[in-house]
């Protein structure tokens, strides 16, 4: 019976029809829960435009790092150097934006990231240095180089060794008509409607053009990787490089390109931090987001849409962390309600084991909710990591990493 159900769900057409509607259902259910929680707890912030806007701003850098990781890993190379490439992006973005304006800043970050990506490629693909070692070297190198250059260039221009001068803001878009309308609905305090409007208005008010452009990287990555010749060959380098080479694919060249794209994405994500999320370069600004990007790749099962989902999860918690503690507490209630619904659903469909496990987890969170009045912010920033570990443990069977991920490959010598 379960076999039948599985094969039914795996059917191409069923998947096409089911997934968007399931997604909508999921969003609506979440909105109802969140609205209810706001009513109960009075934590107005959790459905405010402020939180949703902040979530978006925190999501983009993680998304870029995640896509960077995805491109590299799809070609069979792990890019531990994402963090260093992001650091390079924050610095390059800020410096060039200070001189020539934000768009040049982004361009410089993209080029610089691609160069560092290629550097990683030459180290691991051509020379054969261990992928983790090369990545860590890039992280350390980028950190030192950024501080060194900051010390030379910034103090005379109004910054200091760990801080750049303030740069110009990227232009923003407030959708005329819709944004004020949503704002006025949000202020009316109608259950569900105001909450939905509040969240939505965060997405249409003062949104940076950079945000919109970078979000397009998700469908673009999917399209290139799955619909073009370049993408197909790149993926085969990660799945079976021997076969790819036997059919005339230049494995080294594909991996170089994948790593250049990987570095470009990570670096642009860094530039977003220093140009959009704030308007200044600060040392330590990336805060380990490159590593979280790697986690979103796993969370997202090596697919761009999955990386987006993972980035949003991390982005929400990132945003919650800097807002009011009451929001965090309220967010806990959201998790409890969602968990309870899952428990009921699991028991109703006869999946006792899952149900019992979820019940225990939910009760545990419930206990925390009742006994701990203020959740430490540190815990919140840890939550997405916990979620990634849970995904790994629970869905490990279904995850499909590229088969030859992180396995070094030597091209055949001319003479065999």
């Amino acid at each position: 019976m379960t076999d039948l159900l599985n094969s039914f769900l795996r059917n191409r057409w069923v998947r096409k029809i089911a997934s968007p509607s399931r997604f909508t259902l999921f969003v609506v259910a979440l909105l109802i829960i969140v609205s209810t929680v706001r009513r109960i707890t009075g934590a107005a912030d959790i459905t405010s435009a402020g939180l949703s806007g902040a979530t978006l701003r925190f999501t983009i850098p993680l998304l870029m790092a995640g896509l960077g990781g995805l491109w590299a890993e799809r070609s069979g190379v792990i890019n531990i150097g994402l963090e260093g490439m992001m650091i390079a992006g924050t610095w390059l973005g800020a410096w060039f934006a200070f001189i020539y304006g934000p768009w040049v800043g982004f361009l410089a970050a993209a080029i610089g990231g691609a160069v560092i990506g290629l550097f990683h490629g030459i180290l691991v693909v051509r020379i054969g240095i261990d992928q983790a070692v090369s990545g860590l070297a890039i992280n350390i190198l980028a950190l030192g180089a950024a501080r060194y250059l900051s010390g030379i260039l910034f103090p005379s221009r109004g910054g200091d060794i760990s801080l750049s001068p303030v740069v110009e803001q990227t232009p923003t878009l407030t959708v005329p008509g819709i944004s004020p309308l949503l704002g006025s609905i949000a202020d009316k305090n109608i259950f569900l409607l105001s909450d939905g409007a509040g969240i939505l208005s965060g997405f249409v008010t003062e949104i940076s053009y950079a945000t919109i452009l970078l979000l397009l990287a998700v469908p673009l990555s999917t399209w290139i990787l799955w619909k073009t010749k370049f993408g197909l060959r790149l993926r085969f380098c990660g799945e079976n490089p021997v076969a790819a080479e036997s059919l005339g694919v230049k494995v080294y060249r594909m991996r170089y390109m994948a790593l250049a794209i990987s570095g470009m994405f990570a670096s642009v994500g860094g530039a977003y931090l220093s140009l959009v999320a704030s308007q200044v370069y600060r040392e330590g600004q990336t805060g380990g987001r490159g590593f979280i990007g790697l986690a979103t790749v796993i969370f997202g099962n090596w697919r761009p849409s999955g990386v987006l989902a993972g980035s949003v999860l991390f982005g929400v918690t990132d945003a919650l962390r800097i807002r009011q503690p009451t929001s965090i507490h309220a967010a806990l209630l959201v998790v409890i309600i969602a968990g309870s619904i899952y428990v009921i659903w699991a028991f109703a469909t006869g999946r006792m084991k899952h149900g019992v496990r979820a019940l225990m987890a939910t009760s545990f969170i419930g206990l925390i909710y009742l006994t701990v009045p203020e959740i430490p912010r540190e815990f919140v920033s840890f939550f997405p990591n916990l979620a990634t570990i849970l995904v790994l443990v629970l869905l490990a069977q279904r995850l499909k990493p590229p088969a030859m991920l992180a396995v070094p490959y030597r091209e055949r010598e001319e003479t065999e």
Partner: protein, 503 residues
């Protein structure tokens, strides 16, 4: 018919080895041409030259009367020569269609793949040649036979007129072999030419239109199947006679060594993988297990070795219940185990031979005193194995990966028989090895039986089962459906039992 490939005086040297010399070969258009020879006879090198992976040092290859010199497999493909590899060159994580089109993707401007056009072309090819492939399936969901069809579809899609198959039947179960042969006949009926490399004389005789025999790097004879027989081919290959069954006059004793009684075992999804299995192997007996692959053979071994836990029944070795023991304890109680996949379960490919000697014996003398591993004892005993089993290796310090498959297998057999275990479990002990190694391994098994070892032999090679076994148990869907006497059993009886009929 006309000559489509004409190989004249090919020579290829590698440092220290002459892989091919004075190789001459004529292949007619539209025929199935078999190339047979022991491991190391130079078949693979010749194939690599034909499909463009390596270039010969001297000699020439003519295709349709024109001299060719390939720089890469793509060059060969352009002239219609395509290779179907033994270890399939497929990506599990991609669809059949993606695997087929890789390297020759139909694209519109901007490099966008025209998947619809590709799908139609693939389905047309599948239809024309009777290859049952579904374009949108993930390769990870396919069985071995299906993967092979995808490989064949792949070279046909790229326009191959001459297909080279490297030991295509080595990985297949009997029904799949039959289906493959039908496919190959279908291909030749459309004018394609097939070259296939094999160890299996029966198949070659049944399938090929002509046969070329290679020995020690050169072609020694070209024969037609109707003018020859197994004995003659084997003689040409090894320069000697086929191994005969050892002394059968001695009968096994009545003393049971391994006995399973009503053993059942459930998979995590509650499917029954072993069902009420009862069997006994006596001292000095070889019990053969026959059956179509995937009917519980691996699970049977894994339960005996303590790798999976049984749900009911008992397993005893020399009257000691072992069902609750760990693999380590079971091995230490005197059980040797030759696993079916030597490279995955039998050896550390990147470790030297003498370290491989330690595997599985790391807690028993002479290799260990219970705490320290005795390196010199391991080396001395490795030397013994190399000598006694004629393992061809420059030294015991080379990596296992440097040895050919047959020599790796001989080393494992020697290791698992060391210390004279009470029970030896031999799973596919001669799969994919050359005739010389096979004969040596068979003789070792027969010797061990005579000296009183109990041997459980799991094999898909009927010659092996019939030549060695005192009794044959047939397994089907996790049940023992028949226990037969190999002296009197007919192929029909066996065939029926293997398909699950009670006899």
């Amino acid at each position: 018919m006309s000559t489509i490939i004409d190989v004249q005086g090919i020579e290829k040297k590698y440092p220290g080895v002459i892989a091919n010399y004075d190789v001459n070969l004529k292949i007619e258009s539209g025929e199935i041409h078999a190339i047979i020879g022991e491991n190391g006879a130079g078949k693979s090198t010749l194939m690599k030259i034909l499909y463009g992976l390596v270039a010969p040092d001297s000699g020439r290859v003519l295709i349709n009367g024109k001299k060719v010199s390939f720089k890469s497999p793509q060059d060969a493909m352009e002239l219609g020569v395509g290779m179907v590899h033994q270890h399939f060159m497929l990506a599990d994580n991609a669809t059949v269609l993606e695997n087929v089109i890789l390297g020759s993707e139909p694209t519109s401007t901007g490099g966008v793949i025209q998947f619809e056009a590709a799908r139609i072309k693939l389905l047309e090819i599948a239809e024309k040649y009777g290859l049952n492939v579904r374009p949108d399936q993930l390769v990870s969901e396919l069985g071995i036979g299906e993967r092979q069809r995808v490989e064949i579809a792949k070279v046909l899609y790229k326009g191959a007129k001459i297909l080279i198959l490297d030991e295509p039947t080595a990985v297949l179960v009997p029904q799949e072999v039959k289906a493959l042969f039908e496919n190959l006949k279908e291909l030749t009926s459309h004018g394609l030419t097939i070259i296939f490399i094999s160890h299996k004389l029966d198949e070659v005789l049944a399938m090929a239109n002509s046969i070329t025999v290679m020995r020690s790097g050169t072609t020694v004879a070209s024969v037609e199947p109707k003018n020859t027989n197994k004995g003659e081919l084997a003689k040409l290959m090894v320069g000697g006679e086929l191994p005969k069954r050892g002394d059968t006059s001695t009968k096994p004793s009545d003393e049971p060594v391994l006995s399973l009684s009503h053993v059942s075992c459930l998979a995590p999804d509650q499917r029954e993988i072993l069902s009420d299995v009862s069997l006994t192997v006596h001292k000095g007996e070889i019990l053969g297990i026959a059956g179509v692959a995937g009917n519980g053979q691996s699970e049977l071994i894994e339960t005996i070795m303590g790798l999976i836990k049984i749900d009911s029944g008992t397993i005893t070795i020399l009257n000691v219940d072992i069902s609750a023991l760990t693999s380590r304890e079971i091995r230490d109680s005197g059980v040797g185990y030759i696993p079916q996949d030597r490279q995955r379960d039998g050896l550390l490919m990147m470790a030297p031979l003498w370290e491989n000697r330690i595997l599985g014996h790391q807690s028993t003398p002479p290799i260990s005193n219970g705490f320290w591993v005795n390196k010199s004892a391991a080396k001395i005993d490795s030397e013994r194995i190399v000598k006694e089993l004629d393992v061809r290796t420059p030294s015991i310090n080379v990596m296992a990966a440097a040895l050919s498959g047959g020599n790796q297998q001989k080393f494992i057999v020697g290791r698992e028989m060391s210390g004279d275990p009470n029970l030896l479990i031999a799973s596919q002990p001669t799969r994919g090895v050359d005739v010389g190694a096979q004969s040596l391994i068979w003789n070792k098994l027969i010797e061990a039986r005579l000296s009183g070892m109990a041997i459980l032999l799991i094999s898909s090679d009927l010659d092996e089962l019939f030549n060695l076994s005192d009794r044959l148990a047939v397994i089907s869907k996790g049940k023992i459906v028949a226990v037969l006497d190999p002296e009197t059993t007919t192929p029909e009886q066996l065939g029926l039992a293997m398909t699950g009929e009670k006899i």
